[in-house]
Symmetry: D2
């Protein structure tokens, strides 16, 4: 159950009520919000006088539910904005990993030329083998900061475990929680404390219920800016890297109030399929896309097979803009 307390209720009283109801407490605007386990359906008489309004819920998808707030959350970074009453579809692009200044500089120039506002590049790579390239780490973060300074681009990069979360929070405009880190509650809780947008990737073995419940860890910390990202789930089909769950994305659009970003690059795993999937995603009506592009995909140190070269990516941007117009949206 979600409870908004009267704005006259003090922090101390709010916390006492929270303890009484085994609720999580956070402040929103000028009042306190309590979230109890969903099994709670009634407000005790002793508490009722403090309550402004309340929402009984039918699962632990609570703050993210359309049954609580039906309007789409508005998320803003720099001059970029998605959700709310915008019809914006943001394209976030860049290489899987930042590998060198030359690579990221070339990519930044491409993005600027295409009017793209936000660059993605991994610094800490959640590789499955210890014997392969593990990312540039802090050195990469510093290069990204330099890209921002030189080109005015916003930056998004991934937290893969909690060892480097403070660095990522410091350097990026959007914090991306990777698919393999999305159950990590110390990361989720830390992201609840900050005031930057969080892009939460769905784990490839994660149900929609669990995925949105992970978002609840962030939202119930008081950070209202959570973006959900579908990036492919693991199924019996192995001719493609993952299976892009557009049905799941349709469910998220229908039932949650968080913007949905789609990542066709990781879902497909092969460059040949990415443009068709990206175009499909725009027509589907997503709030944004993550697309991997690299100046020379063959030489990429990670995910070489799935990154688009600049020519294909440039052509795709044009196609996506046309489709966006056809469905009443705008690519930003």
């Amino acid at each position: 159950m979600i409870i908004h307390l009267n704005n006259s209720v003090s922090a101390q009283t709010a916390n006492e009520i929270g303890e009484h109801l085994k609720a999580i407490v956070f402040k929103e605007a000028d009042y306190y919000v309590l979230v109890t386990p969903f099994a709670q359906k009634d407000i005790p008489t002793s508490v009722q006088a403090h309550v402004q309004s309340s929402w009984p819920m039918d699962s632990d998808i609570q703050l993210a539910s359309k049954n609580y707030k039906s309007e789409l959350r508005r998320i803003r970074w720099g001059n970029t904005e998605i959700g709310g009453d915008t019809d914006n579809t943001v394209v976030i692009a860049g290489p899987c990993s930042i590998e060198s200044w030359e690579q990221i500089d070339a990519t930044a120039r491409l993005l600027k030329s295409l009017n793209i506002s936000t660059l993605r590049a991994g610094c800490y790579k959640p590789r499955t083998s210890p014997y392969t390239f593990q990312g540039l780490g802090l050195e990469g973060l510093k290069m990204l900061a330099e890209v921002r300074r030189q080109y005015g681009l916003n930056i998004i990069t991934e937290v893969k475990d909690s060892s480097h979360i403070e660095e990522v929070i410091e350097y990026t405009d959007i914090v991306q929680i990777g698919a393999k880190a999305m159950y990590d509650q110390s990361i989720l809780r830390r992201c609840g404390e900050i005031r930057k947008p969080i892009l939460l990737k769905r784990g490839f073995g994660t149900t929609l219920q669990e995925f949105v419940q992970a978002a609840e860890f962030i939202l119930s910390g008081g950070n209202s800016e959570v973006i959900l990202c579908e990036r492919g789930i693991r199924t019996f089909e192995t001719k493609t890297r993952f299976t892009f769950d557009l049905c799941g994305a349709a469910w998220l659009k229908q039932h949650t109030n968080c913007p949905v970003i789609l990542d066709p690059s990781h879902a497909m795993g092969y460059a040949y399929g990415v443009p068709d999937l990206a175009k499909a995603s725009v027509a589907f009506g997503c709030d944004g896309l993550l697309i991997e592009t690299h100046p020379n995909p063959k030489l990429a140190k990670s995910d070489a097979a799935q990154q688009l070269d600049f020519e294909v990516f440039t052509k795709l941007m044009g196609d996506m803009r046309n489709i966006a117009v056809a469905v009443g949206r705008e690519i930003i």
Copy 2:
């Protein structure tokens, strides 16, 4: 290995060579085609004189492979045509099951008003329980024939097991092999003998490799008109009925020469997600869509949750036509 024999080779010689090579033999235009297990990589010296051309293959996806014929197969029924060098995307619509003349007549009128050429409706329903509605059977087929006569619509309906295959072949313009029947070799082989287009649905537990190999049973019978239909696979995610495998569809487009039709209605299982998935499918560049629509979905005797009412469907048709233009295709 696929082998085209010289057109001077007689049926008897072709069959002798076929037996020698453990090959399947069929006639195409004026020459015989042999398909051996793909492990065969060389043509025996004794046979070489009869061979016009040959294609060693790397799996038992042979006749359907772009490595054999890179151009997309052209499929035609009535005045409708997909594949080949057309940029057509056909919309095939209608109710899950034919339930009454009133129901199918209303649907036919809607389709005509929207310039849709082909009506779908199930007569033999592959229900999972014996205790629910099983379809109208032959009576339904006869109603569909009457719809064709009155409205000039083409008809597609489903074979669910071999007990009624001859009836379906007789009454329909396209034979649909259902997802649960697609491993049935007596059905596949019978469809190889006829000269009507076959729409082969992927089983929900079927790999892409197996799916296309099922098409090989039909193609190697001499029927070159096979359409592949992705309709959702079964995964761990159960908030939606199935998981729409657009990555798989991208693989099919890249690797096979068969047109690909998508079925968002069965994938999603809930009407609310169907329009967004259908729009995505058009932008993806599929050769066609199967969409379920019913004059009164709430009263439908099967799949009530996933059928669109006429108002939503009509709106969707307009949206899809706009998207098709944006990607250089035409909705027919």
Copy 3:
């Protein structure tokens, strides 16, 4: 809802009531049984006088449910018996495909020497490619009949589609419905009409609910002897052929009244793992096992990787007998 009519009710009245209630009707012992869709929860007043007893059910798992009959069904063929109050675990063994008289004769001699009563061998193979060995067909069935005559072994073989069902019914002691044929209602309904045990394999993409509902097609035809066989489901893990669903088997034991047979050979797909899985299956408390063994697995024309040679199989039989004793069961 399942309804037992009074034994004084005539066939005509039973059918009239059945039509009224949209029920399936069959005769059991000296009374008629009706099964309505499970949504039916009450018996109309006009019918009550004819009713001996009734069971409202909570899903279309009805006749197979322990909520209807809690005792395990007793299944008998030849002198072999499983289920009921026996503690028997039957081992059914033999090659994937019957390939020659020498092969099947050698296998039959091995089985006799190990006191195994029932031989399995496929005649019609549901291969996924048209370009590979498709089975000996009727010729194979005749060899199996000869094996029965010479060795007194019972025979089980598989129906893969309805084109050859009458032949299989004629020649075998148990009719096996293959994993790819288990949704085929013409096969299921035909098996409901006969009086031989049916071994129904779970499809690799089939939920437990659907699997047991397929059994309902047979049971509601009046054939009470249905054995359920778990043989591996398709999951994201591809280092083994399938994933053996012992959790699912535990669910079947808990909720249904049909004996459960396990097939570790198909689940694993590799001979090295089969003995450990077979031993696990015995300790688990299954009612039987299907195990593939072949005089020379390397030369097998199908499933070569997963068949045990005679030495390994003989050793395994001894191990399984020891485990059976430890869990209070007997290998037959």
Copy 4:
């Protein structure tokens, strides 16, 4: 490629060679071990003089591969030992979460009475919802230490994220890395630095390849004592909590040198199936089991449905000991 350097090679030289070959370097006994990416197949001439022996490998499953060391790793904690040339199957039991001193004290007394050496209980719970019980944390660890002091039991508990790893390392005898934390490289690497056994749980969406590669992070840190734990994977079947992957466990036994422990409680998710699955696991020949038992499962604060009460658990221990004898193993 795995390379053992001569024992005369100094740390400095070992590290130089390591850097040259992009290898991970650690010390084993009195020599250094290098592990390069598996693509490396040859040793450069300049390095050959320092090499004692080397193993080219065919995937990044290297140190854990039977192709490197074919004997099973021996793992020891307290007086308990598994793997190596023992035939021991260890039973590790206890509640899902430690909830109170009374609860854990009762459990410890039961374990002692059944000659069980190692108690499991979760302190930090990786719950999927922020609104439910999250575990006792450090307070729980201290109770476990008290249990060890009073009863002489060994303790295993779970790390769910890196925020509390040092505490867990300090208090437990075996460090369990939970299914949701197993991709966390900061945890994996930290576990490579210590000298306590690590029980690594397979993620429910994790392939066998990825699972063993996670073990490589630990092994290549120099900690040779890694136990692999299969605890159910996520599949389309939802009538049980997960699907117990015994085929996968058979693959691990065949291809890796790490002991394999099975967790039927989490796989099944329902107490009714746990005894049969546990018995199956013993006959399968696993090196150990994790089984959840609770003095009063109905009141459990987490995983209430799957924990065995003491009576069922006690009966199960007897059954498992009988089966172990039948397969030539000993329950410890």
